[in-house]
Symmetry: none
Subunit: 215 residues, 2 copies
């Protein structure tokens, strides 16, 4: 009986890290190294010539970064599976990659054992995510839930005033700028706080930022 061997591609720009990773893959019994690439473009060339089953891909790379690579590769190689390597710095990118349908997300400080576990999981059709990433998941999911609760509609004038508040103008300064009385602006502010549930300038601005009402 022939033992099935999974072909792995390593896409990583740091040559020493890439070498170490390749070495580890060569040592594993159930995998073989399909090829290595220093960026997304190189990956595409080599994947066309000599396809891998799983691609280990670094997030940050020059020329063509991890996300671009995954998105493009998903089209051209629908059966290819992806394991992302990250430095943990990047925060909301996790969501992007998950939405892009990657099978794994690893921190770059994993060792041989961790890599083996992750590869086995993905080979068996499961997903694998580093434990350290859990806080990020829960944080992101919490934010998702909180959003649809409020979602009020602000008028054009209110948004205009909101923008000026964000820019640091006081009620009086806004009034002068818009040629209306300070009382008017004051009322708009009251209504803004009312609608958004904010109870002071800071929370109003936080709301505005979360909902992309100002920039």
């Amino acid at each position: 009986m022939i033992k099935p061997v999974t072909r792995i591609a390593v896409v990583e720009d740091h040559s020493f890290y890439r070498n170490g990773l390749c070495m580890a893959i060569r040592r594993l019994k159930f995998t073989e190294l399909a090829f290595e690439a220093a960026n997304g473009l190189e990956f595409f060339e080599k994947q066309r010539a000599n396809p891998a089953d799983i691609a280990l891909i670094d997030v940050m790379m020059p020329v063509m970064d991890g996300y671009e690579t995954v998105k493009a590769a998903k089209n051209e190689f629908p059966l290819l599976k992806f394991i992302i390597l990250t430095m943990m710095d990047e925060d909301e990118t996790i969501t992007k990659f998950i939405q892009a349908g990657v099978q794994g997300y690893l921190l770059k400080n994993i060792d041989n054992k961790g890599l083996e576990t992750a590869l086995k999981a993905v080979i068996h059709g499961r997903q694998y995510f580093s434990d350290e990433l859990m806080p990020f998941f829960t944080r992101t999911l919490k934010q998702e839930k909180e959003r649809p609760v409020n979602q009020v509609k602000l008028t054009r004038r209110e948004i205009e005033i909101l923008q000026l508040i964000f820019e640091g103008l006081s009620t009086q300064e806004i009034a002068d700028k818009l040629f209306v009385s300070a009382r008017t602006v004051s009322n708009h502010r009251f209504n803004l706080n009312n609608k958004t549930g904010a109870k002071n300038t800071a929370s109003l601005i936080s709301y505005a930022l979360k909902n992309n009402l100002v920039r």
Copy 2:
């Protein structure tokens, strides 16, 4: 005549990167690998037992990071030379390391050739810095001059309070949360506005966002 061989220590927490780096050093004719360590503490143990001539040290490590390690090691091993490995993210840290008297500063994306050049330079008593770091040097030096004007440094407590302001808490609420008097918080706020040039909560928050002090 005996050929002199320089003993290199590799201090790096990412095991794959560490392995790749060690492999490269083993391959060089004029060096040998003294030992490898995953963090500063491990480095000290092994350096005492089996001293190296040059230490390749990662900036970001758990337990004891690059800077702490270099500072402590300078005392205990005055003849030891240091080459720092960085991801380029960290900006003003460069200054710290240079002031600490390191002999080299490399980007982690260097290859075998670059490593060889750097090691040879340091072995011959010179310093070596990746070309890509030049913009950082010039920028940093420029900022040194500009800093006293604006560009202020906020204390930990100030940033903590800034974060809570951003989250919409009032002075009193912050005081309650931090178990200090409202007067204290009020003073921190005054100092925050003072340092940042903000004249109200809104402009303070704008400043904080522009400078990534809150999220």
